[in-house]
């Protein structure tokens, strides 16, 4: 099963092992941060390292290995990296909004001279929904 890995040149061997080790190390660092930190917003920072550097290094190693194995450049691994780079901010944003909805105590305090809930922030604004229903200070989702 492993015979395909024995015929590699030495420089490629060491390079691939280094890249894979770095990628896996970042994945473990990200998960360790996720498991160990004490607050949700602190825990968000860990998996970002695993997503970008962890999967990125493993994919670079895979692209190198398969390009040199098949003889032609194989770049479709970078589709995963591109997809993760595009979608990681969106999922982080939605997760933060969900966390702030679930636990209102996590929201930061508003500044001292901001309008209270119930007053309109814009004197010319036409409100289409009842103000007494949603005391949601996180802004509109539209």
């Amino acid at each position: 099963m492993m015979s395909h890995l024995s015929g590699l040149p030495m420089w490629l061997d060491i390079l691939l092992t280094t890249l894979l080790a770095i990628g896996v190390a970042f994945a473990v660092i990200g998960s360790w941060g996720l498991a160990k930190l004490s607050d949700f917003f602190k825990r968000l920072h860990g998996p970002t390292k695993a997503t970008t550097l962890g999967v990125g290094c493993v994919l670079i190693a895979s692209a190198l290995y398969f390009s040199l194995r098949l003889g032609k450049p194989s770049l479709h691994e970078f589709l995963i990296t591109l997809f993760l780079f595009l979608t990681a901010p969106v999922s982080a944003h939605l997760l933060i909004k969900a966390a702030m909805k679930l636990d209102p105590a996590l929201r930061p305090r508003p500044p001292a001279n901001s309008p209270q809930p119930g007053e309109s922030r814009d004197p010319h604004e036409q409100s289409s929904e009842g103000r007494g229903v949603a005391t949601d200070l996180s802004g509109t989702d539209r």
Binding site: H4, L5, L20, A50, I80, F83
Partner: protein
């Protein structure tokens, strides 16, 4: 030679990363922590599948990693949207 000796160890270390995310999935005080742990599990599974693609010398596992990445993002978005709005498609 170095790579064929190191790959089982790297797979094991990545499995430890998956177990740490499972710990947060079971422990997380609140739904948002569990959604975050699920998202991390999806991403680490992508890395594990690409690693296995090198191990087994086939390009098929990369396709599975791409699908898991896409579905993981879709799952995270759907769960967060459900928490925010109570409904997925409004």
């Amino acid at each position: 030679m170095i790579l064929s000796a190191a790959l089982p160890w790297l797979t094991g270390v990545l499995a430890v990363a998956l177990l740490l995310a499972c710990y947060r999935l079971l422990r997380g005080p609140g739904l948002a922590d569990r959604i975050l742990a699920l998202d991390t599990l999806y991403i680490n599974s992508c890395a594990l599948l690409v690693l296995l693609g090198i191990y087994f010398d086939t390009e098929l596992y990369f396709e599975a990693a791409l699908v898991i990445g896409m579905l993981g993002f879709a799952g995270t978005v759907v769960l967060s949207k459900f928490v925010l709005r109570g409904d997925i498609v409004e």
